[in-house]
Amino acid sequence: MRFSRVTLQGFRNLPLAEVALVGKRTFLCGANAQGKTNFLEALGYVTALRSFRGAESRALLGLGVTQAGLGYTVEHETFGESRLTITLTPQDRVVEWEHGKVTRLADFIGKFPTVAFSSQDNQFLRGAPSLRRRWLDLTLAAMDGAYLTALQRYTRAVAERNMLLKQGGRDAGALEAFEHELAAHAVTLVARRTVGIAELGELFRAAHARLVPEGEQAGLVYAPDTAVTAPAEFAALLVNCRTRDTLLKTTERGPHRDDLELVLNGRPAKQFASEGQQRCLVIALRLAQAAYFRAKGGVTPVLLSDDVLGELDPGRREKFWASLEGEPQVIATGTSLPADAAGWQVLTVEAGGVQ
């Protein structure tokens, strides 16, 4: 897909930006803290109604603003030219797409795929497991409605069980009722994550191989908290955990504690990869995400690069461009123009204005 026109109003520090995007490559040039990343964030928001910086929706409203509007015109492989608007208020977000309001996230998530390359991605290796789970959940849910449903229901069932635990965990009948529901979704999540990580791992290995010298091999390893395959088995585990969970007032075991490990040449990358190698790994992971969206959804995602390509040395940058599949639209930011500025639409971002 391709963004052809973007209108932002009251989004972070951008009071009003109306931008026509020309061609396949747009470069947003400007000093730091002028609004470049905010602009990319607004584009990325359309994929799953989430900020790639992990910000809460209410943080996206400009200072003193009670309503922000995001309007997109998109050329899309499946839907042709599409108009979308998202209205954010402190309490709510409303998506309108052609025929009217979108009422269920499941009907919308992943239809307009983007992949953001951010300098924050460096935390991906060393940061908390929740970062990696969030990436995995978003990637799988965007392409699989059943995964999203299982995730939402699992999360709700865990919250209900946790409330019972906080109340002292005395009602074994009610615990059993919610554990039964929780276990069914847990097994679905583990099964779909197992398959999804294998597929993503293959794409990750291939994307990485195109970026680095021969002899380095990257991989993804699923580290489930509990590798159960039958709901009854997981439900039994939960029963065994009740006493301990009641003391801790929370559900300790389950897919909400899963992790995902990046490996380089068979060893954990967070311990054994150099800084340059780590950078290539996270970029390859984003490329794998883009390839996954393309393979599953049949739509080439828009790549949003927030000051990341500038960090690569010229040799790797060249390999990066050569490795892109499906001629994606690329929207990149930086403090100075790229060396190969020809072929780019250049926009200047200054004090919340884009032109």
Binding site: R104, A157, E160, R161, A174, A177
Partner: protein, 197 residues
């Protein structure tokens, strides 16, 4: 604004679906625009509060000991359709697709919302089923996490033999209940009910 008017508005605002503006409009309507309607409304409220109660068999609203459904001898006694709320029952009645009896739980399990098993009209249902007559229990609870957990809770407590337990088919809006479904959808949901275990 007077203290009495303020009190009325405040009381109205606590009703479901009524915000500040509507509360103000209703209060002024009753006191200023159409004061003649007031006695009628007061009488209706008092009479309803006095005479409407729960059916002792199924929990549906009734003015006698038994509700209209339980009192109707033409209804099939073998089937009991379990619903969360009275409006769900009314929706199924409107669809005309069901001729059995009902049981209204008046909610579903939700620790987060503070609803425990003892808050539901469950014990009466279990007594009713143990006493015989019922051959099929149709679970028409919503298909969200809480609805499913309630179905499971209930099923675990039903006799293991002699009663068939079914769950209505869910072409119904996901996460929603029967209330929001139209008659055609409800009819096919009832027809497509499956064995539940």
């Amino acid at each position: 604004m007077t203290p009495a008017l303020e009190a009325l508005q405040k009381a109205l605002k606590q009703l479901p679906g009524i915000g500040y503006r509507s509360a103000e409009r209703i209060a002024l309507h009753l006191l200023v625009e159409k004061p003649g309607r007031l006695p009628e409304l007061v009488a209706a409220l008092e009479s309803a509060a006095r005479s409407v109660r729960r059916c002792t068999v199924c929990g549906n609203l009734a003015e006698e000991e038994h509700c209209a459904v339980c009192a109707d001898e033409r209804r099939r006694t073998g089937q009991v359709c379990v619903v969360e709320y009275v409006p769900d029952l009314a929706a199924i009645e409107r669809s005309g697709a069901y001729r059995g009896r009902y049981h209204v739980l008046h909610g579903k399990l939700s620790p987060i919302r503070g609803v425990a098993p003892e808050d539901l009209n469950l014990a009466a249902l279990l007594r009713r089923i143990e006493s015989g007559e019922t051959t099929e229990v149709i679970l028409a609870l919503s298909n969200d996490v809480e609805g499913e957990a309630t179905c499971h809770y209930l099923t675990e407590r039903l006799p293991k033999a002699g009663v068939k337990v079914t769950r209505i088919g869910f072409g119904l809006p996901s996460g929603g209940g029967v209330l929001y479904a139209d008659a055609v959808t409800l009819r096919s949901a009832l027809e497509a009910r499956r064995d539940y275990s």
